[in-house]
Amino acid sequence: MDIRHNETVWPPTWPEDSVTRVPYWVYQDPANYTRELSRLFEGPTWNYVCLEADIPNKGDFRTNVVGALPVIVVRDASGAINCFENRCAHRGALIALDDGGNVENNFKCIYHAWSYDLGGNLRGIAFERGINGIGGMPKDFKRETFSPRKLRTTTLNGLVFATLSDDTPPIEEYLGAEILGRIERVLNRPIKVMGRFTQALPNNWKLYVENVKDTYHASLLHLFFGTFRITRLTQGGGVLVSPDGGHHASYTIDKADDRQSTAYRDQGIRTEDKDYTLADPSLLDTVKEFGDDIQLQILSVFPGFILQQIHNCLAVRQVVPCGTDRMELRWTYFGFADDPPEMTTRRLKQQNLVGPAGFVSMEDGCVGGFVQRGIAAAGDQISVIEMGGDTTESQATRATEASVRGFWKAYRDRMGY
């Protein structure tokens, strides 16, 4: 079968009517990338933009991007959170130049001092009436028709999401009850930010999202997972996939009967090393804080948001696409506002597991680049995603690629492939 992607035919056709085959041109094609920005990130999706804890007071703001679209997220006098494009209506310059801060009542573009209220409405034009009656804007110029584009916002347990589309359903409906419940499980009270780091990854953004959803790889690639039984395929757990395929939550249950399992040794898998121990085991000193036995839960919201609980190490991650072969992963580590000092110390230590230098996440920083380089000449070839069959339903095992297939189901629906 000839599946070569013919760039003169647009849109391209998917190689088979299946979610078990993905053509490699989706990670390489510039036209496809542009289509993703408009149809996914700027389309009917909810995109994480900040935490409510980032902007507690009136005038507090953060800047971020929704795909490639720069945005300002700000709390107004009524306590509502507004989001609008970070682009002056005049000549298109960025309005806010900082990652965050407080502006009291208005934003002012530095280029020609046009100003905007906290709702993103154009309020002031420097020398609007000219000087001594000469110059200035035309008398019939209507300020209200010139504003940066506004995004709708929604909050969910302290998370702030934004959407540019009028068609995006309410967040509860967007996520479905199962995924919603898994977010509420972790974010059950006010949080406090503990640190922020950015990881620049040498790969297409989708390779990272697939990695997050890939429950099959975790204990095979990451020795820490297998050896210290943070997550092993032989433990209890499973993967939940939303009906549209786009969102997922995978989880591992601490189960005593796995402790004697020899399944990994029998398979000759590198990531179980019984001689590998920690000189300071306090790193893995864990307390159950969510009233259940789930020791690991990784959750993703389409297209680019991740909520992570690995033992007592909590973080949100935002996937920022930067062209076909680069992306940024923005980590925000957090704890809860009522954490006692010993819990803060426990989280600080367990944060060694994640982030750019994470004992269990380090490899995820490079493995996407290995794929991106491996497929350099393979735009007309396909990857095979058949662990656990060809469906995208929730499964009571993690030896499956159901949630990766779910991603491609949602992707194809939204991209029109």
Binding site: L221, Y333, K349, N352, A357, G358
Partner: protein, 154 residues
Amino acid sequence: MDVGLLVTLNAAYARTIDNELFEQWPELFHEACLYKVTTAENVAQGLAAGVIYADSRAMLRDRVSALRKANIYERQRYRHIVGLPVMLGETNGAADVETPFLIVRIMRGGAMDVFATGCYRDKVKPDATGALRFVERIAICDGARFDTLVAIPF
């Protein structure tokens, strides 16, 4: 404290990492210590997290055994260029010192790129043998963006 001794300690530190003598790296710290890699922005905002955080010499040893045995990454090494230490004061017999650093990462393919710049904020005092060792070393990176991954300590 004699600045010459601090320069010698920093030179030994850089050589230990750049020559991949990682097993000797924890020995430059006191048993009870704090080592952290973070960013200027986190420090300015009072955020305590690090990309690496160790509060014992044993945790530093675990970093080394992980990078030797556990973690998978493409072959790479560092070249540290460490500036002159500035004495900021003294608390509880330990000198407060600040020293700028620049780290070039040399990749398997031959690329030699600036990987990180920043300053070390240190607390330094002699151990029982009189050798100068770190009670605390906080590597405060100027930027917040780390390329691909951080396998080797700063």
